[in-house]
């Protein structure tokens, strides 16, 4: 357990509350119960009173808490609530907007007498450190640029404006007066780099300070202040919630993976039946009829069950792949061969057929007049209406016609797609919940 300083305890002159003094150099202490500031040296009497009810701490950080930073114990001795009126650069609109912002500045003191500052606002936490710039500068008041503290390159101001003190609690070696203000300008370069300056009453600048602010995660701060009883309780509650999230996330993740695997499995079945041409039949002596002066017609009729792999009946293929029965796409390749079995022409085409077996009577329609199917379930019959140019007429007696079909299930049946999409969605959700 880290030991904090408690040099002495005094009573607030207004409400009598116990005020623990932790810093030997402290001159002022502000009661966290009633907001009254006491000057320990008794020199300053006109000190504005703060409103502790209005400016409560935002989260778990509290005066007196001890945290260990890189092996050095720091104790929180003060909190200043600030209100910023400022201009913020919008990189999309390329102009400044007037904004307001509230934040708390926690002052920590180590046993060595060194200080640390934590900035807390509604977006999280930052560690503020004093920096000595190689190229110190402040904006000239006429431009929205300043010089980079280390490279001297011109940089655009991300924010600039005025910070007002709204409340202070705890102890300080100097007087922190409500409504005191300072000006600031900030640019971003990895971390936030800030110049802050204050004025004498005659408007002359009294002091310029330079800071660098780096974000720190709440979990890291909880770890740093983990020895404090209040934080332990919060950490335990978070741990319980995290375990619960982990469990829930794991379940969702597992269900998502299962969905994905099922989807991929059926997708692979679908894909295994794609791009395979199945020879259906060969008409060695097709009969040709004249359609018109330029076209001969030959028709063939085939049982559709021949065009699917033997171990997967048509109807099983449809149902197992969750293929809607009304959206089967058939691809055909028609090969014309001569008597010597030399290929004289290859015709690839797609035919779209609309099948239905809801009433056990096959129905089909096709936009292409040269293709039709009839039959029920796996007993579908395909009729081909094949046309060749009349130029083939003289050779038509010697020409054989082979019909080859490839069944292409409509791209990923909606059930498979849904399964995969749901799987991916659940995996993402599961991972997010596990990480929370």
């Amino acid at each position: 357990m880290l030991e904090g300083n408690k040099l002495k305890t005094i009573n607030c002159s207004a409400c009598g509350g116990d005020l623990e003094i932790k810093n030997q150099r402290t001159k002022f202490v502000t009661c966290q119960y009633c907001g009254t500031t006491s000057d320990i040296s008794g020199e300053v009497t006109d000190i504005k009173k703060g409103n502790p009810v209005r400016f409560k701490p935002r989260s778990f950080l509290k005066i007196g808490m001890i945290g260990e930073f890189n092996g050095i114990a720091y104790q929180i001795i003060g909190r200043t609530a600030w209100h910023n009126n400022y201009q913020e650069w919008d990189s999309e609109d390329r102009k400044y907007y007037t904004e307001k912002w509230d934040f708390d500045e926690w002052t920590l003191l180590s046993d060595e007498g060194t200080y640390k500052t934590i900035i807390e606002d509604k977006e999280g936490y930052k560690i503020a450190e004093t920096q000595i710039p190689k190229f110190p500068n402040i904006p000239d008041g006429h431009s929205n640029k300043m010089q980079h503290f280390q490279t001297n390159q011109e940089v655009l101001l991300q924010e600039y404006g005025t910070s007002y003190i709204r409340y202070f609690e705890g102890e300080s070696t100097y007087l922190t007066q409500i409504d005191d203000f300072s000006k600031f300008a900030q640019y971003s370069s990895g971390a936030s780099h800030i110049a802050e300056w204050r004025y004498f009453e005659n408007k002359e600048i009294k002091e310029v300070e330079f800071f660098k602010e780096t974000k720190i995660a709440k979990t890291k701060l909880l770890q740093i202040f983990g020895e404090n009883p209040d934080v332990k309780a919060i950490s335990n509650a978070i741990k319980v919630a995290k375990n619960e999230n982990k469990r829930t996330g794991t379940l969702i993740l597992a269900f998502g993976i299962l969905n994905l695997l099922v989807g991929i499995f059926f997708l692979s079945i679908e894909n295994s039946n794609v791009n395979t041409l199945h020879r259906v039949a060969t008409l060695t002596q097709p009969s040709w009829t004249t359609l018109n002066d330029s076209t001969l017609v030959s028709e063939g009729e085939f049982d559709v069950k021949l065009i699917v792999p033997k171990d997967i009946p048509t109807i099983s293929l449809f149902t197992s792949c969750n293929i809607p029965m009304d959206s089967l796409e058939l691809k055909s390749r028609i090969i014309l061969s001569n008597n010597q079995n030399d290929t004289v022409a290859v015709i690839d085409d797609y035919f779209y057929s609309y099948l239905s077996d809801t009433d056990s009577s096959a129905y089909n329609s096709t936009e292409l007049h040269d293709f039709s199917t009839t039959g029920i379930d796996e007993e579908l019959t395909i009729k081909m209406h094949f046309e060749i140019p009349t130029a083939f007429k003289e050779r038509s007696d010697g020409i054989s016609v082979s019909y080859l079909f490839e069944m292409i299930p409509k791209r990923y049946g909606s059930g498979v797609s849904f399964s995969i999409m749901l799987g991916i969605f659940l995996i993402i959700i599961g991972l997010v919940i596990r990480k929370r």
């Binding site: 030997q24 150099r25 007498g113 060194t114 200080y115 000595i132 402040i138 070696t173 009294k206 310029v208």
Partner: protein, 215 residues
């Protein structure tokens, strides 16, 4: 270090001054402040005792500082509206320069006194407005009225509680090191410094300056 021995003009106690530039000494027995004048100690001001605010540094502390042996010879405390700060006069082994450690709000700066022919006017120094001085560009960062709260040990200038000690601090532009002007009634001092960390100071002994060990 070459020692000079004096008798305290107030209590008669023996004061051994180890710092050759010492112009003032505070008696370790009775806290009487005395000036060194014409080889003698003369009473100056009231007795004063500085409160211990828990610094790790103290009069006669010995050890190593940035790798060199050192000893704390003197101590001055200053006060201004924003608070107070301590300055510790450091004797560094084999070094003739005047070194000070400034301790303020947990920050430590090791300053070396610089000799200059001219000194800028306090009123003309504007915070945030760079000036050219001694061939360097200075960027003033803080300016304030201050006064001396008190001192102890041997000191190279006259320290009287309540004496004005206004200051202007800042940064050497393009270098990232710091400077400090101190405007005392009798002189204006100019220092060049750099921030140091506590782990750069190894304190071996922090004894009473008038103990045998210190001698």
């Amino acid at each position: 270090m070459e020692k000079q021995t004096f008798a305290c003009p107030s209590c008669g106690g023996t004061l051994e001054l180890k710092y050759r530039f010492s112009k003032m000494a505070v008696c370790g027995y009775c806290n009487q402040t005395s000036f060194v004048e014409n080889g003698q100690l003369k009473l100056a001001g009231d007795k004063n005792e500085l409160a211990n605010y828990g610094s790790k540094l103290s009069l006669a502390a010995k050890g190593t500082l940035i790798g060199l042996k050192f000893m704390i010879i003197g101590h001055v405390r200053f006060e201004y509206f924003g608070g107070f700060w301590d300055e510790w006069l450091v004797g560094m082994d084999g070094q003739s320069d005047e070194f000070w450690i400034h301790e303020d709000e947990g920050d430590l700066i090791l300053y070396t006194k610089m000799e200059t022919e001219t000194i800028p006017d306090y009123q003309q120094l504007k915070i945030g407005t760079p000036i050219e001085f001694a061939g360097k560009r200075l960027f003033p960062t803080e300016k304030n009225k201050a006064q001396i709260l008190g001192g102890e040990g041997e000191l190279p200038y006259r320290v009287l509680p309540g004496q004005q000690a206004d200051f202007v601090d800042g940064i050497f532009y393009g270098e990232g090191t710091v400077f400090s002007f101190k405007f005392l009634p009798e002189e204006t001092q100019f220092y060049r410094g750099q921030f140091i960390k506590w782990d750069e100071i190894v304190i071996e002994k922090a004894d009473n300056p008038y103990s045998e060990q210190f001698k």
